[in-house]
Symmetry: C2
Subunit: 341 residues, 2 copies
């Protein structure tokens, strides 16, 4: 059980871990807050990407008061391995920390063992974190964890559809099918993924910048890498100042594309279109999560939001699990996951 | 304010008003419960369709104890006009009723005035009914009230769609896009409307019986009238034993069809398909409510659930108000209303 002060400290650790200046990719985002035995704030630290200090080391380094008997509140289990930095579990023990609160176990088989090392040293390790805080800690590093488990990036596909499944009107116009809330959410989604991927058709027709912008049009401090894929003519994505790096993947095969992105250290792909790319990834079983922004509007004609899946009869339909429905007035957000056999 | 006993009596009045043996159509469904001054149940009655006693008269007739000082709990304002039966307000007054609880005012300009008549006679009239019971009283006679206000039937359209807007797979198969809960709801909807209407294409391709069946396959006691419309060859709908009357409307014009149905005394139309009929009614502005059973499944190809609306550009899209979202696992029910200018 956590005290109210410890819960506040964990909320703060989650907040600093999510620092938008920290790149995503092959390193986890981690935050750490140190509290005195009486619950007084002593120091905080967070990881800032490959080659920089781990969150625990960062916090220990910033602390000025003695740490004997202090509590460390961390968003991820302290590591037990010597990588570019020493094992954090040992550093906490050496500093005299007597209680460690861990919001999320480390799924990395190379780094795990910190918990056991702490317990062996007599440190009181607390894992019973309130569910919503544990969920936030898991959410921080979804792509990173997926990469550890599956050796390929997590893929979230986003579709904006009318109620009758159209992505545009008969003349090709599509601005805007969804309302401001759904469009703002797309920009927010771009800040939580490593790379936004589009097909050659979308790159050609829409010439999208795929930047993450705030309501006022300014750029968010974290910008995703941007990629277009295809084997034919793929135009370069426009690159306004401040946009993330852009490149082209010379393949039409989803698995090849994901392998190339993983190789570059990218761990969470946001698939933004168009209908052909989404269909290719669905057919290849390469979509982990589908976000549909469903607009309560009808067109009756126009390009469908999803291209041919090679399905000819109802028994072969592609069933999904509907895991969440939320209002994004006037639209609806549906979160779905392909059913795993 | 109603006492707990009076609320129970109103729930009972609503229950008997909804007697499935009572036809829908041009007469409202009404229930009445009589309580002694001490709150003891004395009698109940309900209206059983054109030419039969009103609910109040039916209850008064069944009461054996003296009614002086008694309370009448009614789902609809007692009438003040002499139609096929006398004014119910007068009958309640003559019987010595001293309190009348009314769940819903009578929107019929010919029949209204009962409330004033009761108050003039010194009867305590209570309209402050709990919201959910007032809503149930309104729901009982939706079609009838709509007919009084608009001189045409209420039209509810039902669509079963995949997430990508398909009504069937490429080979035409569509059984089943939605799950058992959504399909059971369609049968329940058939019991609450006066007539189920389909287009010539659906009559030809599906030969639907359009009966209302229970989970076990048996017929519900109330069966809707069934109609198919079109100017070409419209096959007769199959008529298994116990099914409602079936007929053909020789028009392709939604307004003409609705006028003909209204003329027959039908007040609530359930539009069940297909895509062409739904589109024609939407284009004509003849749909009051759209129920979409959205299945979390993808087809990528196949006939769309809605035919051409004559919309060519995004600015002309047909926006709807999403008024309710409810789970019908594994599907979702969306309730929408066309936006009125």
């Amino acid at each position: 059980m956590l005290t109210g002060i410890e819960q506040d400290a964990l909320r703060r650790a989650l907040e600093i871990a999510a620092d938008p200046a920290v790149p995503l990719g092959p390193n986890p985002r981690v935050g750490c807050v140190l509290l005195s035995p009486a619950g007084v704030f002593l120091a905080e630290g967070h990881h800032r990407g490959a080659g920089t200090a781990h969150a625990e080391a960062d916090a220990l380094d910033r602390a000025t008061a003695p740490l004997s008997g202090a509590t460390a509140v961390v968003t991820l289990e302290p590591c037990a391995h010597v990588g570019r930095t020493g094992p954090c579990a040992d550093a906490l023990i050496a500093a005299g920390i007597s209680r460690v609160i861990i919001a999320r176990r480390d799924p990395n088989p190379v780094a795990t063992g910190g918990l056991e090392r702490l317990r062996t040293a007599g440190v009181d390790v607390e894992l019973a974190v309130p569910e919503h805080l544990a969920a936030a800690a898991a959410e921080l590093n979804r792509g990173w964890e997926h990469g550890l488990r599956h050796q390929r990036p997590l893929v979230t596909a986003k579709l904006a559809l009318t109620l009758d499944g159209r992505a545009a009107a008969a003349d090709g116009t599509s601005r805007w099918i969804t309302g401001p809330a759904a469009r703002a959410e797309v920009h927010a989604m771009r800040t939580t993924c490593d790379v936004v991927l589009v097909g050659a058709g979308t790159a050609r027709l829409d010439a999208p910048t795929l930047t993450a912008r705030r309501h006022d049009g300014t750029l968010h401090p974290r910008q995703p890498v941007r990629a277009a894929m295809g084997t034919g003519a793929v135009p370069e994505l426009p690159s306004p100042e401040g946009a993330g790096e852009a490149f082209t993947l010379r393949t039409h095969d989803p698995s090849d594309a994901l392998a190339a992105l993983f190789e570059r250290g990218l761990r969470h792909v946001l698939l933004e279109g168009g209908p052909t790319l989404a269909a290719a990834f669905l057919r290849a079983g390469c979509i982990d999560e589908l976000i549909v922004h469903l607009a309560p509007t009808l067109l009756g004609a126009g390009p469908p939001g999803l291209a041919d899946l090679g399905i000819t009869t109802i028994a072969d339909r592609l069933d999904l699990d509907l895991v969440d429905v939320a209002p994004l007035p006037p639209d609806l957000r549906l979160t779905l996951r392909p059913r795993t056999a």
